[in-house]
Symmetry: C2
Subunit: 453 residues, 2 copies
């Protein structure tokens, strides 16, 4: 009898692991339990579906359930929620609408993902209030902005100025809806730092978005079960709809109840192979921690690549080829209207100090192309290094072009543990349509290096 | 009395060194001899001046002679050619049109650049035959294609399918001129390898460029002192003008005559500080070798960043702050009509073997954006690793977007000496408008890594 690999959760991490494990060891029985209907979908594309850049929600699906079942021989069970893990018996308890049953496992992957955080305020259950963390929610929002489910809203309040909040601001704006963003912190996009955030905020205002920073939403006001206003301490803002995008939290409870260790971040703690404190239980994706190589500490950065990569590595390991899940450096990029906004590593002074560094920060602006070449756009880079060792700690950048993939140079340098001086001496590509002779990353490193001496 | 730093050549390397040395040590006398009129200009922009993207030749100048003289206190002497170096006396002999004189130096930088190679064929001196390696030549060509010096040509033959040949093909085509490219090798863009070159060739043909590969030009035919045809072994191609772009050669003769050592590449040999075999004589830019960190050997890659960087480092050293010039990995990018074409490291099998590696090559095609996001364009990557050590050796890539700066990820990994597996595990940026979840570089590394196991 073959061994059984059970996967809880059928998105990026879960399906990557299932596919890879089956490919490595075709004799393995691979069972995936997914509580919803959708598997292996690109959640990051949902804002563009709402915007109208993508026609069908199905376009976001990379591989269909049928393909997993028929071509990859994976026993994929949708509408099947795992409600308990018995580590001693090595079984999971599954509810599938018709009843409950136990499934044995030899290896188990917890890939339960994350959920939208719902702030503890009144009005969350009013009609016209949306969160945005499932394909169903994306369809609801799209139907609403397209006027296909009742009257099309003329105005929307977005609570939260993070990635999803700002991507959705662009989507609503493209639909001709007035957008107001409410952010309780002094700036949007907290992980990118103040300098970069201020450029983003200027851009948002230029696009006609009303920004309310440092503003706590106290309540969502309604009229007859329908949203009517965003209520803050000082004011009331009439809106026809509200999107709540106040971040995500890891779905780690199922594992925690079974005695699986959860880290300080609240996500499931894992080792370099994605193993939890139970040798037969792995965790990956938006419910799990990863190892941040800059801070040399566990970190919770729920992003798609980390999930895919860890899932694939765990699939290899379970399939018989032990493979490390890989480190992260905290790289992220987001499109905000016409801007590309990117970050990697540690850029926050306080965070750097907590990680034991003596951070030195430098901000520069340089062109995306040769100064004489048409279409040259300014790129602002904030780069941070450690005074004592000269080591590069991180960078954030913003500009209308050439930012999204330029951050990868910095990310790669962080993986390699390079000093700022070593970054300054990188042999990067140059041609007038694509860069100044000194790439903006080199210029940032050059100036920061001078400051570190 | 202050020390004297003499620089021969007033372009990228020379002016960077002069500026940096003076800034480091304001007491230093810094004298730059430039045989022509132009200093500190962006030669890489010349094709775009011919094309018409850039209005004035002067736009390519980063810093004017007046600024060097008045703001930076550099004794810049244009129309002054150094014709001899006496290392024992520590003097150079200068001709300035009015006569000849000796100038003493304490430190000397040879930054004499490179020149266009002129093939030994008949017809090079006909009217309508151009090379393209000086600002004057760029003006001549522009005046010609704009019809400002005689009749505008209807057709042009370009001899040489390298960077300049293909950039100029785009420029001529934009001017409505029929373009034929003659390349004696089987493919254009030799340093990029066959796979990438074939995609470029398809694109050139789609743009209406006539390509003659594996074709040796034997003569440029003329009628009454004027170019009339490109003559190959098999055929005669009538043209109104010819651009000869068959590569460049280092201007190392002046140094060599003075007993300065020249490397196997024909360029001046230097150490990690840009010093030649004479402690008081440095060399940098298109006349000098650099250290290729992948091959761990001297290399001749005459490109702008290397020149600027080495010049700046030598300026620091001469100014009192010893600074290494930095390694190269052979990164290059070129725009060919709508394509971005980039390379770094060692991608040629034979070259890799000569450097002591056992190269394994993998070609993949992946999207520039998420598969569902509008504007996704295929990127082809050829990546090479060493079988024995798993080390990354190089990559070349081509596509309509997202190539020029993606190569920098690979370049940075090469500087760090990463294995292909380490590249596969890089935490690179992802958002649907900018990349698939697995960046094409990661996908290439993933597949190559499997092949290396």
């Amino acid at each position: 009898m073959g061994e059984t690999f059970v996967v809880i959760g059928g998105d990026a991490a879960g399906m990557s692991a299932a596919s890879k494990a089956k490919r490595e060891n075709p004799d393995l029985d691979v069972i995936v339990f997914e509580k919803g209907e959708w598997v292996s979908y690109g959640a990051c594309g949902m804002p563009y579906y709402v915007k109208g850049d993508i026609d069908e929600l199905e376009d976001l699906v990379a591989i269909t359930p049928e393909e997993f079942r028929e071509e990859r021989n994976i026993d994929l069970r949708t509408h099947s929620e795992v409600v308990g893990i018995d580590r001693e018996a090595q079984t999971v308890t599954v509810e599938n609408g018709e009843g409950t049953y136990e499934q044995e496992y030899d290896d188990l992957l917890v890939a339960t993902g994350a959920r939208a955080i719902e702030p503890p305020i009144d009005g969350m259950d009013l009609d016209g209030v949306f969160t945005f963390h499932s394909m169903e929610s994306a369809r609801d929002v799209r139907d609403t902005v397209a006027g296909e489910s009742g009257e099309k809203p003329e105005s929307v309040g977005i609570i939260g100025g993070g990635y999803i909040g700002l991507e959705m601001a662009e989507a609503f704006d493209a639909r001709g809806i007035d957008v107001s963003v409410f952010e309780m912190l002094p700036h949007v996009l907290a992980p990118f730092g103040e300098t970069i955030a201020e450029e983003v905020e200027d851009h948002l205002r230029e696009q006609g978005v009303s920004l309310h920073l440092d503003t706590l939403v106290e309540e969502i006001g309604g009229e007859e079960d329908r949203v009517a206003a965003v209520e803050t301490e000082d004011d009331s803002y009439p809106v026809d709809a509200v999107l709540v995008a106040t971040g995500v939290a890891p779905n780690s409870e199922l594992a925690e109840e079974a005695g699986i260790e959860v880290g300080e971040t609240g996500a499931i703690a894992t080792d370099e192979y994605g193993r939890t404190n139970d040798d037969n239980v792995f965790a990956a994706g938006d419910c799990a921690e990863a190892h941040n190589v800059v801070a040399d500490a566990p970190d919770y950065v729920p992003l798609a690549l980390t999930a895919n990569r860890a899932g694939r590595a765990i699939g290899s390991t379970v399939g018989g080829d032990p493979t490390e899940v890989g480190d992260i450096v905290g790289t992220a990029v987001v499109k905000v209207f016409d801007l590309e906004v990117a970050r990697t590593g540690i850029t926050d002074t306080e965070e750097a100090e907590q990680a034991g560094f003596d951070p030195v920060t430098q901000v520069i602006t340089a062109g995306s192309r040769a100064h004489y070449y048409p279409g040259d756009e300014p790129i602002t880079i904030e780069m941070v290094g450690d005074r004592e060792t000269g080591r590069l700690l991180g960078a954030a950048m913003v500009g209308e072009e050439g930012v999204a993939k330029r951050i990868d140079t910095v990310a790669t340098a962080l993986h390699a543990g390079m000093t700022v001086e070593e970054v300054q001496n990188l042999d990067l590509s140059y041609a007038p349509p694509f860069s100044p002779v000194w790439d903006p990353v080199l210029t940032a490193a050059k100036v920061l290096s001078g400051k570190l001496e």
